[in-house]
């Protein structure tokens, strides 16, 4: 039983790692721009397809692919800001609907470019850290965990220690007041989209060698991410991270000891419970909620 619990803990850490990256990106975009980006799961999917195209297709070194994936998907985020969210800035609902349109277009383009079948990326490494016969951690999973910690730490430093980060936080707190202080809302929106999309993209890049990559893979991730940001408090980065860890552990434990369908029900029940007991989420504020 101890071994089963230990393996479940390692499985949970991995799930928490990639989910945190996706959820934090989603929160960042919402916090600064005030739009719910329904296509965020597709940004995760595009990151995975960068791996399919460059790593599987052309044998580009994985580390280089990771950097390209982050920048490429970040630039897609900037493109979305220019073409979708900026023209619809005064209509949050319009931005949401337009992001659904982007979602469908992204799925269709990937289907046309890569086909409809799932892609299976060759493993970057098959090395496994063996703690005991029943407790093992594949190196690729450890890489995802460490990379998530690194990117989230860098984000924290960026937001707390740089002028751009201060500008982002100021815009998230009160866009009008920030503008009066000379902060360009357009510029902060672009930065938020680049960082938020880039985080989703890097999550896709990191997990691509561990899952089946397909045009519709973003769906499961975005559902979990929405649960996480509602539980954590919409607009709260800390809340998104804490809720990601909590959700990942609960979902993984329930899947392991009961089954995956009950785990999904448990995750949704957790969200409902939080909405009833604390409608603003664990770390949310009334202003944003």
């Amino acid at each position: 039983m101890i071994e089963l619990l230990a393996q479940t803990g390692l499985n949970s850490l991995y799930a928490a790692a990639y989910l945190s990256l996706v959820a934090v990106g989603l929160v960042l975009i919402f916090g600064v721009m005030g739009v719910i980006n329904f296509a965020h799961g597709e940004l995760f999917m595009l990151g995975a397809y960068v791996v399919v195209a460059l790593y599987s297709g052309f044998g580009v070194p994985y580390i280089l692919v990771a950097a390209i994936g982050l920048i490429f998907v970040g630039c897609i985020g900037i493109l979305m800001e220019f073409t979708i969210f900026r023209p619809l800035r005064d209509s949050p609902l319009g931005g949401l609907v337009a992001s659904i349109g982007f979602l469908l277009i992204a799925q269709a383009l990937v289907s046309m470019g890569f086909g409809v079948r799932m892609e299976h990326v060759p493993p970057v490494t098959q090395e496994v850290i063996v703690f005991s016969e029943k407790v093992r951690l594949p190196l690729q999973r450890l890489f995802v965990i460490l990379a998530a910690v690194m990117f989230l730490s860098l984000l924290w430093i960026f937001l707390r220690r740089t002028r751009f980060g201060w500008a982002l936080r100021a815009s998230a707190q009160d866009a009008e007041a920030a503008a009066l202080q000379g902060i360009s809302i357009r510029q902060t929106s672009l930065i938020a989209m680049f960082v938020g999309a880039g985080l989703a993209g890097i999550a896709g890049v990191l997990t691509a060698p561990l899952i089946s990559v397909g045009p519709h893979m973003g769906h499961a991730v975005i559902v979990a991410a929405f649960i996480v940001i509602i539980v954590g408090g919409i607009g709260s980065l800390e809340g998104a991270i804490v809720a990601s860890v909590a959700y990942a552990f609960i979902h993984t434990i329930v899947t392991t000891f009961w089954d995956g369908v009950i785990a999904d029900i448990t995750g949704l029940s957790l969200m409902l419970l939080v909405l009833i007991v604390r409608p603003t989420g664990l770390f949310g504020t009334t202003d944003r909620a």
């Binding site: 393996q7 799930a15 561990l210 991730v221």
Partner: protein, 433 residues
């Protein structure tokens, strides 16, 4: 969204070129008394299946296989109906595994295209199509006999009796590896997974193999299978059964089994693209993996009782055109067309009612894996499933090989009550669905 093409989608020049090439290879000539030119009108066949989306792997490869089938038939002159040779043309419609789109597609294929027969994957899409079938009397086929019921009089399941044939793999394991005594199973919680769970439970019980715990069901949207696998192998089972998981699940689950150090037997309904699984694990790890769908370059398919035209050549041509895409359904829709063609030629008519009567008239049919019987009243409420032998396939040295053909009716005669018991427990009998 629909895809439409004439058989092969080729130009006249390309058509003549390929026909000449085949004649040169002697592929067709040996079977035909003389090459007749098609002089009748084109017979249109509907292909209503997911061509895009998550379930496309069980639709699109079948259409690709049908394309090859049509080229071969048309190159040989076409289908002989009442002494006239008719070319055949497939009209594809992508239902995206959506019942509403399937219904629209069926209506379009019948009304606008004038098809004589419609092939489907079935499953979740059949309820959308059933009212159209009842209204028009159109003949439909499904790969999933769980669509059958007493009222589905124009629906046939002539290629595979999913999931009943899965019993043959378990039976083979019990006979050849009697030391395996315990099993665990996981499956996606959907219309494909649950009847298969019931079937495997019956097969394991019949074989004297005990389940360590209840089947572990997971949401079809699952992407991380580490927790599922951790649970599966926590009590050191002799056998891990992957049920009828989609290939998108079989791959990551198998990889997790490898990474979490499992060293026992694996059995699965399918192992599509198993070469990629080997790349992600190892040939040693997959040695002995049991499943149910052969590669058609298998020498065991060249036996006289096989009713499929030149399976090895079909596999070769398929892989030339669609490298790495051979899957469980690549040959199945084409094999249904063999049955349909034979029945239409026998009836002297392509009309749905005439073909169905000719196909099922004597209670037997020429299934791809040998002569089979129209069966199913016990389980499906109607004898519209063609059942006979089914191959047990094992990966050996990195290559799938048929180990034995086993009889489904013989298993059912001995253990049918067990199957009904488990089907009932999972609500999968025709009167429960």
């Amino acid at each position: 969204m629909f895809v439409e093409f004439k058989a092969g989608g080729h130009t006249r020049r390309k058509f003549l070129k390929s026909a000449s090439a085949m004649a040169g290879l002697g592929l067709m000539g040996a079977h035909l008394p003389g090459r007749a030119a098609a002089d009748g009108h084109v017979i249109k066949i509907g292909f209503l299946a997911p061509l895009t989306g998550p379930v496309a792997a069980w639709g699109k490869p079948g259409l690709d296989g049908c394309r090859i089938w049509a080229e071969w038939i048309n190159a040989a002159g076409g289908i002989n109906i009442g002494g006239k040779m008719h070319p055949v043309e497939f009209i594809g419609y992508d239902n995206e595994y959506d019942p509403a789109k399937a219904r629209t597609g069926a209506t379009k294929l019948i009304r606008e295209d004038g098809v004589k027969f419609i092939m489907m994957l079935g499953g979740d899409t059949w309820p959308g199509v059933q009212p159209v079938a009842e209204r028009t009397g159109m003949l439909f086929s499904t790969l999933l006999p769980s669509d059958l019921g007493p009222d589905t009089t124009t629906l046939i399941a002539p290629a595979e009796v999913h999931p009943i044939y899965n019993v043959t793999g378990v039976e083979w394991l019990a006979e050849n590896k009697p030391e395996l005594k315990t099993a665990v199973m996981c499956a996606q919680d959907d219309a494909l997974g649950l009847p298969s769970v019931a079937t495997y439970l019956a097969a394991f019980e019949a074989a004297g193999i005990s389940m360590q715990h209840d089947p572990l069901l997971f949401d079809p949207a699952t992407t991380d299978f580490a927790p599922v696998v951790t649970r599966l192998i926590s009590d050191n089972p002799d056998i891990v059964c992957l049920d009828t998981c989609y290939s998108d699940y079989v791959h990551p689950i198998t990889e997790q089994l490898f990474q979490q150090g499992y060293g026992g037997q694996i059995i699965s309904c399918t192992a599509d693209f198993y070469d990629q699984m080997i790349d992600r694990t190892s040939a040693e790890f997959l040695e002995g993996f049991v499943f149910q769908f052969p590669d058609f370059d298998d020498p065991a398919l060249n036996q006289p009782f096989i009713n499929f035209n030149d399976p090895n050549k079909f596999f070769e041509v398929y892989n030339e055109r669609h490298p790495g895409e051979w899957g469980a359904v690549s040959w199945e829709y084409a094999s249904i067309m063999d049955l349909w063609k034979s029945a239409a030629e026998g009836a002297g008519s392509a009309e749905p009612g005439d073909v169905l009567a000719a196909m099922t008239g004597d209670g037997t049919g020429a299934h791809a894996f040998g002569t089979a019987e129209w069966w199913g009243e016990d389980l499906f409420g109607i004898n519209n499933a063609l059942v006979g032998n089914w191959p047990v396939v094992v990966i050996e040295g990195g290559k799938a090989r048929i180990k034995e053909y086993k009889s489904i009716p013989e298993w059912y005669a001995k253990h049918g009550e067990l199957l009904k018991k488990h089907m009932s427990a999972y609500g999968q009998m025709w009167d429960q669905r």
